[in-house]
Symmetry: C2
Subunit: 503 residues, 2 copies
């Protein structure tokens, strides 16, 4: 075999297989693994990751990339081959830039920080976690230094997960969001009684909830011959090929939203992964473009569809027939209002559509300050509470519901939170374009017909996998750059209507 | 790191991790994987197996083994280190003896034979499978040639799975069994009405059956904090470390034995794996000694305990309380008789304790003839039917219930069937020794107290993992060689009593 592209693909397929095996082990760990399996599983994952990393960052990969680039130089730059070489070169450079000792140090630090975070959160004692967060700040700075950046260390971190994004671009986005949301939250809070969500709280048999949720997402288009749903403590989506993409959920007997909207959310991630062109299988292109673009798909099916009036105009009778006693006397419009109640709250993962981005803004600002060295780990709870007061007008009664609520800072790199807000923004931008391309979308949604919407997403987004950066995708699809305007317009219109605010 | 033993252990731990990851993928494939996942899973398993094989058979492993052997030469030959080097050297030699092209050829042939066997079985057309079986015979001969043998090609194949066993040893065993069983089966058949098993057939809710089975095996000592049970088409046991050993079962709503005795059987395999000394973890010693010794443990808990009179004297009231309507009017002695009904039958996996070994004998004799070249693939059905007539006095109405019933010949190496009979024999030998060491065993069994029995197995067998060969284990534990006598005495006594035969 003398063709460097073919040789490169063999290595990438092998690395992909190993990474997918790791993903299966990760799925098993969260779903069915007995408690005794923990230590051996850590060994297995560590071995697989090391083998994949060693294989991918070998000099041979670099040489084949160089040789393949001379071939693809003459091709359509948007062809699978040309994009494969380009994106893989980028991954390769990033992987090689991080010294093995730093990677090992991060793994070690993270495995020590995780139990400290769990204990600190349990005892509401931030001081137990502060030294680990201080280490994490330091390691994030060193990662940024190793990766390199022009302006701000955050640039290096965000560019790695959201290629092409910069801290400056995010700063503008978040500023626009802050200006728009903070007054909206205040206006809604002043009319807090306008929406009653008591119908979501009751006694809903878990199995019935789960079956209903699966019926909904199968109607969305989630293909369960190539996927399945299981129960986990924290919901997620994971894939081992476009033909095996699984979701998980959690269910609360006395709160209808948890499983239902969680399942819709994860199905959005899953349909994206199921839709990647099979020609990209076993390459680094065979997944979503970025965490932000991925989140645009989960949010689209959870919120833009699943919390829309047209959706519940069609679906509510089925839900009411499923829970006739519990939903007696509640009509579709009441239910639509209930699932859209806005309430300044302490916990990010329970936040409504309007306030969610404020939770992210707060974390983004603290991460920037930590990276810049103006905020020490031990000062984080105080800074957190000050921003909660400023943006939400509330205070966490305990640091466990404040600066200790998220797992992210105990291990993951900074800049991960930004993907959630990018997802909301990108989702709304895509949806505006979808509406103009599919003028009778609302009627289709009410009729429970999602084929054309999914076809649009398949054609314009899913199939491309990771060929294009988030900015490139937006340019190709909407003809313009990332913009907060569609999302701001969407929440103003929707929640202005729901809460009877002046336009 | 200059210590060759430590360096060797690093390689073996890595290989072990990869093999365990493969086992997790295999478990998932049989339990929860959606249908779409098949192709990608084959890629993942093939990649992991190739990496593990390459790593293990590298020249570096051979060099470290040589260096380590000079160190362990001065040690107690039964120490963990000395045995590790010895057993690993054996595995290494066997792995290196098989040329990569032959291994690849076997994999390819097997992947083509499997669907042909499925189709042939479905249409009861042996001619669809015959060419694949002919290839398999040829590949088994070539494997035997590559591995090397002194007397008979079967020696090479049996020695690989049951180290130290020879075709000559097996020939004697099977001859002794034939002499003992064939007349016993005839005598029992003459009193066929003496045992009524109709109480096993009824309407038994699946979940209740499964819960009862798990209660039993937890009482046996299967640790579900380090294991779990799931449903599959064919029951199996698989382990990813001594602390994560899982079993599967299948359940029939109208036949009580299937899930109950299947679960007992797999729990025997699982307790063995759970009991391997943790000091052997992540080495080639960290599993059962051989398929035959493994089967001795599954058969012990399924048959020697689970189908014994003392067991049901203690357990039957609980079972009757679990299924009061279905077992109304059936007493414990009737139930004990029902689960021990002997009946010459067509299907190996449904056979009773007495006739089971005849099914294996038949396959063993056909494998010997195929290897010797005196039986062609296309002649197998006729030879099969002749032996069915000779040993059982019955004829399969269709080749699907005859020579096509087992999956083994579509892929696995020959000599695999022998492990089942070795398991029965070894189990009975161990049990004789256990009875002499624990004189009040029956009382313990009736009381549902299995701690001392399990402790005996832990001390004498489980903890050693793969340190000793089957023959070595028998010598260490019973002071003598492999012998059919205890098993023959056991079935003669038990079934003589049940069927009222003259002693």
């Amino acid at each position: 075999m003398s063709d460097p592209l073919s040789e490169l693909r063999v290595i990438l397929a092998e690395v992909s297989d190993i990474n997918r095996a790791s993903a299966v082990l990760g799925w098993d760990q969260e779903t069915y693994m007995p408690p005794g399996g923990v230590m051996a599983r850590a060994d297995q994952l560590s071995t697989l990751r090391r083998i994949a990393h060693t294989r991918f960052t070998a000099a041979e990969t670099g040489r084949l990339l160089d040789e393949a680039a001379t071939i693809t130089a003459g091709m359509d730059p948007d062809s699978d081959d040309a994009r494969l070489v380009k994106v893989t070169q980028r991954d390769y450079d990033l992987s090689c830039k991080l010294p093995a000792e730093l990677v090992a140090e991060i793994t070690r630090a993270s495995s020590m920080a995780r139990p400290a975070w769990v204990e600190a959160r349990k005892t509401a004692d931030f001081s137990l976690f502060a030294p680990h967060l201080e280490t994490n700040i330091e390691l994030n700075r060193r990662q940024a230094d190793a990766l390199g950046y022009a302006v701000h260390p955050y640039d290096a971190l965000i560019d790695r997960s959201e290629p092409g994004m910069t801290a400056a671009q995010l700063r503008v986005l978040f500023e626009e969001l802050k200006v728009a949301i903070v007054p909206l939250v205040r206006a809604v809070a002043a009319k807090g009684d306008a929406v009653d969500d008591s119908c979501l709280h009751g006694d809903f048999a878990e199995a019935t909830q789960l079956a209903f949720g699966m019926d909904v997402v199968k109607q969305y288009g989630y293909d369960t011959s190539r996927g399945r749903e299981d129960l986990t403590a924290h919901p997620f989506c994971t894939g081992f090929s476009p033909n095996d993409v699984r979701i998980t959920t959690r269910v609360s007997r006395d709160f209808l939203s948890m499983a239902l909207f969680g399942t819709m959310h994860e199905s959005g991630h899953a349909m994206y992964e199921q839709g990647v062109d099979q020609a990209l299988d076993r390459t680094p292109l065979c997944r979503g473009a970025s965490p932000g673009v991925h989140e645009s798909q989960s949010r689209l099916w959870e919120n833009l569809i699943g919390r829309s009036r047209p959706f519940w105009q069609g679906m509510y009778p089925k839900l009411q027939a499923t829970f006739p006693a519990q939903l007696k006397g509640v009509d579709g419009e009441q239910f639509y209002r209930a699932v859209n109640k806005v309430m300044p709250s302490l916990i990010r993962v329970e936040a409504d559509e309007v306030t969610y981005n404020l939770h992210i803004l707060l974390r983004y600002e603290l991460e920037m300050a930590m990276l810049e060295g103006t905020l020490k780990a031990r000062e984080v709870p105080e800074a957190w509470n000050a921003k909660m007061q400023e943006y939400f007008g509330i205070q966490p009664p305990s640091v466990s519901d404040g600066a200790l609520q998220d797992i992210h800072w105990s291990g993951f790199a900074f800049a991960g939170f930004a993907g959630y807000t990018l997802g909301n923004i990108i989702g709304a931008q895509l949806f505006t374009k979808i509406r103009s391309d599919l003028p009778d979308l609302d009627a289709q949604i009410t009729a429970g017909e999602f084929g054309r919407l999914r076809g649009w997403l398949q054609t314009n987004l899913y199939r491309h996998g990771r060929k294009f950066t988030p900015n490139e995708l937006l340019q190709r699809i909407t003809g313009g750059p990332l913009s907060t305007e569609p999302w701001v317009a969407y929440v103003r219109a929707k929640f202005g209507d729901l809460y009877g605010l002046a336009a």
